[in-house]
Amino acid sequence: MKSAIPQDRVDLDPAALIERFQVGVWRYLRALGCDPAEADDLTQETFLAVLQHSFVDYGPAATAAYLRRVAYNQLVSVRRRSGKVTAVEDIEQFDRAWEDWAGNDEGEARLDALRECVQQLTDRARMALDMRFRDRASRSEIAEMLRISENGAKNLMQRAKQQLRLCIERKMA
């Protein structure tokens, strides 16, 4: 099957390659647990690694997958050196989940849907998520602010996320 795909090295425009795929790589790394600064660094190293070697263009989907794998390898490499455990046990499964989410637009459509869905949450649920993801509040801080137990805060956020997931699926259907 592979022979049907052009095998020759394609002279890619590096800038075009970076511009087209960097957002996806960065978001993928963030989903793998990198903080923004680490995602910046690893996105850069991913493209550098790819652009410094021969590169065969099999099309956007394959390129995106290849970049993700390089990015993952870079992450594993960094984590091993710093003695940390790589947080993803099954990268294949994670990749499938990511592809479902990202689609063909690096996740833009889902993020737009997510924005709209957040607005549909109850005030309490939205407040809890705001505190968690915007203000980086701890679970105990959220619980204190909402005058509920920590478990209650956890459940509230889990439910909210479940609702968001369903809402996004409806919008994407």
Partner: protein, 714 residues
């Protein structure tokens, strides 16, 4: 499990949607680094990427930089493999460990790389030279098989280069990317041009870099009075105009001049009352009076403290919460320093030698320490060395780390001699980088003798070399003990006496006021970037020193000179003065800053990103207000426009006060200016900008301004 992964992916999405953590545009950065790596030789990446200062029991020599051992290229591969195995069980820490511990670690490493007998022999040999500390010539047969210190993973992050362990240095070569700073838009181009292949020791670079060494310049000229200095500036400008056959643009009228002075000194336009006050003053001294008034104002201190903070923090300035940097604290420190007219050399010394916490609540808080917290970054002393050279010497030393650099004129030895000043530091970061503490610690040197504390690095010829603190051919005591010598204080003393320090200060202030410096990029001084007005630069530098490094005085000279008294019109007679296209600036016309070419989305995202980490939106709004005009792009965009475009059409006020929702206002603005609806992300960011401004009028104007910029770009 799949559900877990979906959860995590969505959480990352929420961090973006709610937390404002948007993907950055890394294109330029990556391409720049790609160019750099393509230029650098690839046959021995380890030499180029290696973390430089790792101890190995090899004696330094009497000279401050000395070849210690040679590595046979044929043996490198084997050596690397052995060392990799060695690092699996432990490496050699840079310092802070006992000599015995160091020897044990070394023995373990060697045990993986060579036969036991050879290892023992090596240890004995190393111990021998360690004790005797006599000079060894290149090519020692035993050290040929030594593990390369650069390949040894630091085990303990006790001090100094502990940050090097944060990113790999072998598989991910040279992860460090040069910082950017506010006043050097062409910095990336400079880095690319600076990335030339290493030269041989006998290459012409040697001549160049001897010429450009930092010169100790303690002798100060007699101070001239202001009128004489301003006349000197005018004369030097005029001389260049005549040489190039350029006729300067006609002078601006008083109102235009007043407006530009406000914009460049305090970052905003004058109010009608302020303009009226200026006009009502006697014409003979109204200009000097205005400059003096503004230089003493809080607005000046605040605006320039922001700009200096950008310079000092480098890339960390773009992400205020990064690495525990308290940007606001640093700005306050800088502002109060300006208000009390602290001499620039004293300010520099304080920043260079500061110790303490960046946490304002901490007992050992020292806002000046924020500079080193940011400069330290991930690369530790390496990054700090480069940032110090950029800020205070006007040079980029990123290339000199690995090889003599013809662009900066610095040799590799000089880089490491400068780096040796930053070895008595330990930077500890709080949880999630919420703060950081800079501590002074004794440095025990690569071989564990604190009284003679050297660092080692791999020379471009493959040999291991030692370096001691030295700057501008002046060395200091070699002890690493704080009780004997405080290296950073010594560096501050030497650096602030150097001619490069003065020139860099003048160039930076000149560029901050007139858009272009005498040397472009602003931190690209060296043989490849000669000053456009060398005599003027030197003259102002001397007078700056003669006037006790009074930056306000320097600013006064520049603003009251002809450089500020030419209009921004392009005339047929001044067509040659086009620094925008890469030519040398002649300052025959006033260079107005175009709106940054960044697109709308990025402008808005940057606005969103200024919200400090961990704060509530409300807190961030308050913080933004206190920073106004913010150092991020929106006020700069506004700053760079003429007053007419600043005011905007009258319907903006009606829009601001209308009962429309934020969504409707944003859409209205987008449709009016760009003839389209905003995307969801643009709308979100735009609404945050609306929420983040003092009043609706200001917010709507700022958004309108951004959209106008975007339309112009399109």
């Amino acid at each position: 499990m799949n559900g877990d992964y979906q959860d995590r992916i969505m959480e990352a999405g929420l961090q973006e949607v709610l937390g404002g953590q948007y993907p950055p545009d890394l294109t330029a950065k990556i391409l720049q680094e790609l160019d750099r790596r393509r230029v650098l030789p690839t046959e021995s990446p380890g030499l180029l990427d290696s973390p430089p200062v790792k101890s190995w029991p090899v004696s330094p020599l009497t000279p401050s930089v000395s070849p210690v051992a040679a590595v046979d290229p044929a043996d490198r591969q084997e050596s690397r493999r052995d060392v990799s195995a060695g690092t699996a069980t432990g490496g050699v820490a840079a310092s802070g460990r006992s000599v015995m511990g160091r020897r044990r670690s070394a023995s373990r490493v060697i045990g993986w790389s060579v036969a036991v007998a050879s290892g023992a022999l090596l240890v004995l040999f190393a111990a021998g030279i360690y004790v005797s500390r006599t000079a060894w010539g290149p090519g020692s047969p035993l050290l040929v098989q030594s593990p390369r210190p650069s390949d040894v993973t630091p085990v303990e992050s006790e001090h100094a280069d502990s940050q090097l362990g944060a990113l790999p240095h072998r598989d991910m070569p040279s992860p460090w990317v040069p910082d950017t700073d506010f006043s050097s838009p062409d910095e990336s181009a400079a880095i690319a041009s600076a990335s030339t292949p290493p030269s041989s020791p006998s290459s012409p670079i040697q001549e160049a870099h001897v010429e450009d060494r930092p010169v100790p310049a303690e002798v100060r000229s007699e101070p001239w009075d202001d009128s004489r200095i301003i006349a000197f500036v005018d004369q030097m400008l005029d001389q260049q105009w005549r040489q190039h056959g350029v006729t300067p643009a006609p002078p601006p009228n008083d109102s235009q001049w007043c407006q530009r002075v406000y914009q460049r000194l305090v970052g905003r336009d004058p109010t009608p009352d302020e303009l009226r006050q200026f006009r009502n003053e006697p014409s003979g001294r109204r200009r000097a009076a205005l400059v003096d008034r503004l230089l003493e104002s809080d607005d000046y201190a605040r605006y320039w403290s922001e700009r200096w903070a950008d310079t000092l923090l480098g890339s960390a300035a773009k992400q205020p919460d990064r690495w525990g940097v308290d940007r606001q604290g640093l700005e306050q420190y800088l502002a109060s320093s300006m208000q009390e007219d602290k001499p620039y050399d004293q300010l520099t010394a304080e920043l260079l030698s500061a110790s303490g916490s960046s946490d304002p609540e901490a007992a050992d808080h020292d806002a000046a320490a924020n500079f080193l917290v940011a400069a330290w970054g991930r690369e530790g002393s390496i990054a700090a060395t480069d940032r110090v050279s950029r800020v205070w010497l006007g040079k980029q030393l990123v290339c000199a780390r690995c090889h003599d650099d013809p662009s900066s004129g610095w040799g590799q030895d000089e880089f490491w001699q400068l780096n040796a000043f930053f070895q008595q530091i330990k930077v500890q970061r709080g949880p999630e980088d919420s703060f950081a503490v800079v501590k002074d610690v004794d440095f025990h040197g690569g071989t564990g003798i604190p009284q003679d504390a050297e660092i080692f690095y791999r020379g471009q010829d493959g040999r291991l070399r030692a370096a001691y603190p030295e700057f501008g051919s002046e060395s200091i005591p070699r002890s690493g003990l704080l009780a004997d010598v405080h290296r950073r204080q010594e560096l501050a003393r030497l650096l602030t006496r150097s001619a490069d320090f003065r020139r860099a200060a003048v160039n930076r202030v000149w560029a901050g006021l007139l858009r272009y410096g005498f040397i472009e990029p602003i931190d690209g001084a060296g043989p490849d970037h000669r000053p456009s007005h060398p005599e003027l630069l030197d003259g102002l530098s001397e007078q700056l020193a003669a006037h006790d490094f009074d930056l306000k005085r320097l600013t006064r000279w520049i603003v009251l000179s002809r450089a500020f008294d030419v209009s921004d019109q392009r005339t047929p007679e001044s067509w040659m003065d086009t620094p925008e296209t890469g030519g040398s600036p002649l300052f025959a016309r006033f260079y107005t800053e175009p709106a940054p070419s960044m697109d709308l989305q990025r402008s808005l995202m940057l606005a969103v990103r200024t919200r400090p980490a961990g704060s509530t939106l409300q807190a961030s709004i308050l913080a933004q207000r206190s920073w106004t005009p913010s150092s991020v792009n929106i006020p700069q965009i506004i700053d760079t426009q003429g007053s007419e475009s600043m005011i905007g059409p009258p319907w903006l006020d009606r829009l601001a006060t209308s009962p429309m929702s934020a969504d409707q206002k944003v859409e209205h603005l987008f449709r009016a200016v760009l003839d389209r609806k905003p995307t969801a992300r643009e709308a979100t960011a735009a609404k945050l900008v609306l929420a983040d401004r003092m009043n609706d009028h200001q917010a709507v104007r700022e958004l309108w301004q951004i959209l106008i910029s975007e339309r112009s770009r399109l």
